[in-house]
């Protein structure tokens, strides 16, 4: 299902994190992490190519905002998986963010992730097509 896509998992509850990690692996994805803190997640983002992410909101050192901003601005599909509501700043900035409340079966999160990847691919293709048309000879 995930076709070797590398998925960053940021989740500070070890059981939930490991459960998500195994689900990603079983779906054919590559796991980056799991990271339990913002600090750890930033290190992983620097070292790996992240193509999608599942983010818990409340982490061991602070809330996930800096990671979320970094990924969303980089055009990386992101799913929030939280027991709490999204921080106000994030919700205002990304009103259409995908948010799932705990507990949700990991496979449901992965389906959403695949759907997000697909939309993104379509967008890229469309952009490419537009680019191609604008460059077409007169």
């Amino acid at each position: 299902m995930l076709n070797q896509i590398s998925v960053l998992i940021v989740e500070n509850e070890p059981f939930i994190a490991l459960d998500l990690a195994t689900a990603v692996e079983e779906a054919g994805g590559k796991v980056i992490g799991p990271a339990g803190s913002v600090r750890e997640a930033l290190m992983l983002i620097e070292q790996h190519l992240v193509q999608a992410a599942i983010l818990d909101v409340s982490l061991s050192d602070r809330d996930v905002t800096p990671i979320a901003e970094l990924l969303i601005e980089g055009g990386i599909p992101v799913i929030f998986y939280s027991g709490l509501a999204l921080p106000v700043a994030l919700r205002e900035r990304y009103p259409s963010a995908s948010i799932y409340n705990k507990p949700t079966p990991p496979v449901q999160l992965l389906h959403k992730l695949v759907a997000l990847m697909r939309t993104r691919k379509v967008e890229t293709v469309l952009r490419g097509a537009r680019l191609a048309t604008s460059r077409s000879p007169k």
Partner: protein, 410 residues
């Protein structure tokens, strides 16, 4: 607390004049309208009642200044009067204070009925500050439901031709009664506001607590679901899985029990989960099972410290995995094995040492990490921001755990 002075002019207090003078014809219609106006204002703008009332007293009596003096006790001294809502020539002196034992209001308090004074600045020098002669001052006590007055309402004539009479005393007394009522209402309203605020605060705390509980329950379900899922994947048989899962769920439940004990009384969360209590809770199933053994097989010792709710679950699961491991393969798997858990705090880190001796002995350092070990490492490093080291020796197994104190208390 006599307010009269030895060298007081004999014609200072002229209250008797009020009754000797022929009262001017009362304009009852005007008074009635004025009172109606005040009543309406009391309902609509209670804070505007007193200034309006002072103006009315001035107008109805034909005075050129008026105001309210409210008594403020200042133990052990006799206290003061503070001027409020002054109008006319004294308008700029609002907020000023005069002594209880040296002021016309003080005299009015002493006699506890309306008084009239002539040229009071002859005695009370502060009354010359307005720069105009005070030919007559009419003062009436102001009550607000209590037998003792709260202050006075007063009117001053700066015009030699204007004299106050019993009619003015009556009107001013009526207005003073109204002022007392207004003051009481303002006080009651602020008391009511305070109790409303308290109620709102309590409701808000209740709501926060409910939300917090709901969040915690959902989170626990998510952890439990993750546990089932993980345990199912790593277990060889259904029985094995049930045993592992039950162990983990029970550890989680006992850790949670420590938190719940601290959650009551006026909506505040009292954190009582300490490391000692957590270790006792974790070892409880093993001490119960190992009845034949020496109770000193398990030794827990270190300075007690409070563990925050966030850290509690992961620390509980770490300690549970270590204890389970000890019971399965380590020192608690045979009769004479010993487990010593000792800790200290150094440079804002908790340094915990888990040591097993006289166990069955380990042939060699295990290769590869089991699911339990992955869990322990992930919890210590990923969630608690700490470090973990193992030392495997044939006669001894040690785990060194270091966790920043700030993470531990969060």
């Amino acid at each position: 607390m006599a307010a009269s002075l030895p060298n007081e002019p004999h014609d200072l207090l002229i209250t008797d004049e009020l009754h000797h003078r022929i009262a001017h014809k009362a304009d009852y219609q005007r008074e009635k309208l004025a009172i109606q106006d005040l009543a309406r204002q009391m309902a609509e703008q209670p804070d505007q009642v007193l200034p309006r009332l002072v103006h009315l007293a001035m107008e109805l009596c034909g005075g050129q200044s008026a105001g309210i003096s409210l008594y403020e006790a200042q133990p052990p001294g006799p206290g003061i009067f503070r001027w409020h809502h002054l109008a006319g020539r004294y308008a700029n002196f609002s907020g000023g204070t005069v002594p209880r034992d040296f002021s016309p209001s003080g005299v009015c308090f002493d006699v506890d009925h309306p008084i009239l004074m002539a040229r009071p600045e002859r005695v009370y020098d502060f009354l010359s500050e307005a720069g105009v002669p005070n030919y007559e001052v009419l003062l009436v006590p102001l009550y607000a439901g209590q037998p003792d007055p709260l202050g006075t309402l007063w009117v001053i004539s700066h015009d030699e031709a204007i004299h106050f009479d019993s009619g003015d005393a009556r009107v001013t007394t009526e207005l003073a009664a109204f002022a007392g009522l207004a003051l009481k209402m303002i006080q009651d309203a602020s008391v009511l506001r305070a109790s409303e605020e308290r109620l709102n605060l309590a409701l808000h705390q209740q709501e926060m607590l409910t939300r917090e509980m709901s969040h915690r329950v959902k989170n626990l379900f998510a952890i439990a679901i993750g546990m089932v899922s993980i345990s199912a994947k790593s277990a060889a048989t259904a029985q094995d899985m049930a045993k592992t899962l039950l162990g983990r769920l029970n550890a989680l439940a006992r850790a949670h029990d420590l938190v719940l004990r601290g959650l009551h009384a006026n909506g505040q969360i009292i954190r009582e989960a300490t490391l000692t209590r957590l270790l006792e809770a974790i070892f409880q199933p093993h001490t119960d099972l190992a009845r034949t053994g020496d109770p000193k097989r398990i030794v827990i010792s270190g300075p007690d410290l409070v563990i925050g709710e966030r850290a509690l679950t992961s620390l509980a699961l770490v300690l549970h995995e270590l204890a389970t491991n000890a019971a399965k393969y380590g020192a608690l798997s045979i009769g004479q094995g010993l487990v010593h858990v000792t800790w200290q705090i150094e440079a804002d880190n908790l340094l915990l040492r888990w040591e097993e001796r006289k166990g069955p002995g380990i042939e060699k350092t295990p290769t590869g990490e089991g699911f339990g070990s992955i869990l322990v490492r992930r919890s210590i490093v990923g969630q608690l921001g700490g470090e973990l080291d193992y030392i495997w020796k044939p006669e001894r197994f040690s785990a060194f755990i270091s966790i920043p104190m700030e993470r531990l208390s969060s």
